[in-house]
């Protein structure tokens, strides 16, 4: 694999780094409580929460388990659960 001139790169390769392996606690959504407000999608520092049938869906390949979504959820619909490794 040849180097790119001047240490430049095209977008996309950050996804090679699966940061989900860092996680100790995982966010788990209670769909019954979720008000679909979208705040968790907006504030995730990883940008790894997307919408799936209007409900938030966490991409566990990248979620570091910081718990910001759970802390900020106005409906308290996200619980942090210990990962089983």
């Amino acid at each position: 694999m040849a180097l790119n001139v001047g240490c430049a790169a095209r977008p996309g390769r950050a996804r090679d780094n699966k940061t989900g392996s860092w996680r100790v606690f995982r966010p788990v959504l209670d769909a019954e409580k979720c008000k679909k407000c979208g705040l968790c999608l907006l504030i995730c520092p990883e940008g790894c929460i997307s919408e799936d049938d209007e409900y938030p869906r966490v991409d566990y390949e990248y979620c570091k388990g910081c718990g910001l979504c759970a802390e900020e959820c106005p409906a308290e619909a996200i619980e942090m659960e210990q990962e089983e490794k």
Binding site: T19, P45, E46, G47, C66, E71, E72
Partner: protein, 297 residues
């Protein structure tokens, strides 16, 4: 209108969990949109987002040095003008790169009047090198180069008033924002990039590692800074205060106690004298920007 669904800062970056600056990067790009070019300084964000070849940036991005992003942006802007191109040119730099080592280049770029938006993500110390104090470090914060000790209460100087320095340069739009208020942040970015001339935006970006709190509390800490008056979200248009977020202020203790960097102020007992000084900083901020909501009778 900001398109909040726009994702231009990708997964896989190496920021700590709950990183304020990482959240800032995502929100900034939502506000700026994809027709943007970013000049970055050396620092935490640069390092966690661009180990070759794994870039997290989906807009054109360039890092040259620690202290020259605003000069690099000047050159980009001049080049785009010659080419008849229309991209927004942004700098996204940490507080050390902004308040300290980058001052010369920033002053020059603002004085020359380039159409750029300079955004400082302010986590109030040199985090990439291990939490050393910068000109943005608040009074009494303990850092690795301003440690609290038997004869020290931490950082001896108040935070430099960087926004006023840029106002003095004649910047048409100078504002502060916080990752704790994402919609406000995105709107300010959008306004800045669409304001001709050099604009400055300073974003409070709590750092769980450097300040000593759990990563899940990043927004809570950011909100406390605003609720205590130790951070004010304001907009200055053509040198005049146009808007400031009003609050029913809480005592500064709530903000200080939540972070390890101020914990020495409560050990072994509450340090009345020092906390009074910090309260005075908050009071002065409140008076200057008129943020106090008077409780109803």
């Amino acid at each position: 209108m900001v398109d909040t669904s726009l994702e231009l800062f990708g997964c896989g970056h190496r920021a700590c969990g709950g990183c304020g600056p990482a959240l800032a990067a995502r929100l900034i790009l939502k506000g700026a949109g994809e027709n943007s070019i970013v000049a970055a300084s050396t620092g935490c964000m640069e390092v966690f987002s661009t180990p070759y070849p794994e870039t997290a940036w989906q807009v054109p991005w360039i890092h040259s040095l620690f202290e020259n992003a605003s000069a690099v942006a000047s050159g980009i802007e001049a080049s785009l003008k010659r080419q008849g191109r229309s991209e927004h040119v942004l700098c996204i730099c940490g507080d050390g790169a902004t308040f300290d080592i980058g001052m010369l280049c920033i002053s020059g770029a603002f004085e020359r009047g380039h159409d750029i938006t300079y955004i400082c993500y302010d986590n109030e110390a040199y985090m990439n090198t291990g939490v050393q104090r910068s000109g943005a470090t608040p009074y009494d914060a303990s850092t690795t180069t301003s440690p609290a000790g038997k004869e020290s209460f931490g950082n001896k100087r108040p935070k430099k008033d960087m926004p006023q320095i840029l106002v003095a340069h004649g910047a048409p739009y100078v504002a502060t924002a916080s990752v704790a208020y994402p919609n406000d942040l995105m709107q300010k970015v959008e306004r800045a990039v669409n304001t001709p001339g050099p604009c400055y935006l300073q974003i409070h970006a709590p750092c769980s590692t450097g300040w000593g709190f759990e990563g899940g509390k990043t927004m809570e800490i950011g909100k406390l800074a605003i609720q205590t008056g130790l951070w004010v979200n304001f907009e200055m248009v053509d040198g005049e205060i146009a808007k400031a977020k009003k609050v029913v202020r809480k005592p500064v203790d709530e903000y200080l106690m939540a972070q390890k960097r101020f914990r020495h102020l409560f050990k072994p007992a509450r340090n009345e004298e020092e906390i009074a000084k910090i309260q005075a900083i908050a009071d002065a901020n409140a008076a200057k920007y008129g943020i106090d909501i008077k409780p109803k009778e």
